[in-house]
């Protein structure tokens, strides 16, 4: 079997004394979308922060295409090929749209078709007209597009998307969905954290469900869709979070 794009092995993570992730393990196959689901406070963002190095795990392994990255500082993990679109978007508000993109530029290590400013503007045409506008003045949807563009400018081998549909109007959610679908079609490996289960199921190949810091389900998307009991137990009722 080919090396996994990202393999997480019995991860333990703490905020101070509070133990949040309990032996979390899962693997993302190259070119696939892995949906990481769970209720509020389940530990999804903690998991993403651990992978990115923002919250170094207390123990456990993280491997990016076979290379161990656990314990490295975030900038090294970014250079190794992990891109982050964080929860809450976190664009740099006092930088222009263009600056938000250029500060994130990294040479492509592997792809023959690297992301460039031109390609980002082609992916998000409205961004181009706003290139000199301060990012803090963009709408939520625009900030989400910018956050995705910023992560892509690093030409990541694995893209982490933490609740990209959160707080967005349905039309914008649909656009975010189309964008993720397009990235997937181009072969981008993606971990997608979502509370909007329908959006997640429509994009994912693989599903991992967290419940209070433990993996309670790990399987193909076909095993989840239609499994009402599993969904009710771990996610609440489908579609209650966002009317997508």
């Amino acid at each position: 079997m080919a090396t996994d794009a990202l393999r997480i092995d019995t991860l333990e993570a703490y905020y101070g004394d509070s133990h949040v992730l309990h032996g979390v393990s899962f693997a993302l196959r190259a070119g696939e979308v892995l949906a990481l689901l769970g209720r509020n406070g389940a530990g999804k963002t903690t998991c993403i922060s651990s992978i990115m190095g923002l919250l170094p795990p207390r123990s456990g392994g993280i491997a990016l295409f076979g290379k161990a990255i656990a314990g490295l500082p975030p900038e090294a993990i970014s250079h190794a090929g992990v891109g982050l679109v964080p929860q809450g978007r976190r664009v740099f508000p006092s930088l222009s749209v263009l600056e938000n993109l250029t500060v994130a530029r990294q040479r492509a290590a592997t792809t023959d078709r690297p992301w460039t400013l031109e390609r980002i503007f082609e992916l998000f045409p409205p961004m181009s007209a706003r290139r000199s506008q301060l990012a803090g003045t963009l709408s939520g949807g625009e900030q989400q597009m910018l956050a995705i563009g910023r992560a892509l400018m690093g030409n990541p081998r694995v893209l982490l998307l933490d609740e990209p549909s959160e707080g967005l109007a349905p039309l914008i959610v649909a656009e975010v969905g189309r964008t993720i679908a397009r990235l997937k079609a181009e072969g981008q490996s993606i971990i997608l954290v979502e509370q909007n289960s329908q959006l997640a199921f429509s994009l994912a190949d693989h599903v991992v469900i967290l419940n209070t810091g433990r993996v309670t389900f790990d399987g193909r998307v076909s095993e989840v869709v239609g499994n009402e009991a599993l969904i009710a137990q771990n996610l609440g009722v489908i579609g209650t979070h966002h009317a997508a």
Binding site: M52, G53, L54, P73, P74, E75, I77, S78, H79, G83, L84, P86, R90, F92, P93, S94, L95, E99, N100, T102, V103, A104, Q106, R150, A151, M153, G154
Partner: protein, 288 residues
């Protein structure tokens, strides 16, 4: 009339010196959340190094001495940041104690090396003669100091606002974790900004030489003013440091000239107003 014009010019020159000090302090605090209480000592160390260089290297002019002192203090600051301050992390009490301790060490070292008497520094010959205009004699060197501050401000502005490195620094100020997560080497930028801030302060000490000279206690005289400038202008804001420096330059100069007994009251009163009504300073942004 002469009094007002001369005091105005003194205010501008003092404001310029304050900017050379406060801009670095503000940048360092903005990016690193480090209140570097040794910044006044950097200014003084620069002044002494410049004075010593002028004394021991024949023919060295003030500008070259300022450059020399600036680079030396930048290097010293860089070492300090890498070897000591880096280890403090974000512990504010540790930062205060350690940087204050470093400033005492620098002050004592200067006292041991250069003694307790003030060391005057002459302005370059061609700037020593006052410029006569409309019957009033303007001290020419004061203009040169203001010009230096403006050049420094412009240079910093261009660096911060018009280059990719500058955008990376601002990204780090906006959201340090996020900046690191997209691969910005925030740690190296920290060191570079620290060197830059220290270097500007060191050069500022030399440029202030012909006005203030180098003397024990220069650090303790300047540091509170830099803090006031930064609180007034807004932490991390270059424009704030610039405007704040000149405001404080005026308040301080006119305060000491007109109401010497109340100079500090006049200085701290606007501070209290600012903290009460605009805690982020005139040009600062509120942080989450």
């Amino acid at each position: 009339m002469q009094f007002w014009i001369i005091q105005t010019l003194n205010s501008l020159a003092f404001g310029g010196l304050l900017f050379l000090l406060a801009s670095g302090f503000s940048l360092i605090f903005g990016l690193m959340r480090l209140a570097n209480l040794a910044h006044g000592a950097f200014f003084m160390l620069g002044a002494y190094l410049g004075a010593a260089a002028i004394r021991s290297i024949p023919g060295l002019d003030l500008w070259s001495a300022a450059l020399l002192a600036g680079f030396s203090v930048a290097a010293a600051g860089g070492l300090l940041e890498r070897l000591v301050l880096r280890r403090l992390g974000s512990n504010p009490l540790g930062q205060v104690l350690v940087t204050l301790g470093i400033s005492f060490i620098i002050a004592d070292a200067c006292l041991m090396l250069w003694g307790g008497d003030p060391i005057p520094m002459p302005a370059p010959d061609y700037l020593r003669r006052p410029i006569l205009f409309a019957g009033i004699a303007f001290p020419a060197y004061r203009f040169a100091v203001v010009a230096c501050a403006i050049v420094a401000a412009l240079g910093l502005y261009l660096l911060l606002e018009r280059t990719r490195i500058g955008a990376m620094i601002r990204a780090g100020v906006d959201d340090m974790d996020m900046a690191r997560a997209i691969g910005i080497p925030v740690s190296k930028l920290f060191t570079a900004v620290f060197c830059l801030g220290a270097g500007i302060a060191g050069a500022g000490g030399v440029l202030g030489g012909p006005i203030l000279s180098a003397y024990p206690g220069l650090d303790a005289d300047m540091l509170p003013l830099a803090l006031i400038v930064v609180i007034l202008g807004g932490v991390g804001s270059l424009l704030g440091a610039f405007v704040g420096s000149f405001i404080i330059g005026f308040i301080y100069t006119f305060g000491t000239a007109l109401l010497p007994d109340l100079a500090y009251v006049i200085l701290f009163l606007p501070m209290i107003v600012v903290i009460a009504f605009r805690p982020q300073g005139l040009f600062g942004r509120l942080r989450a």
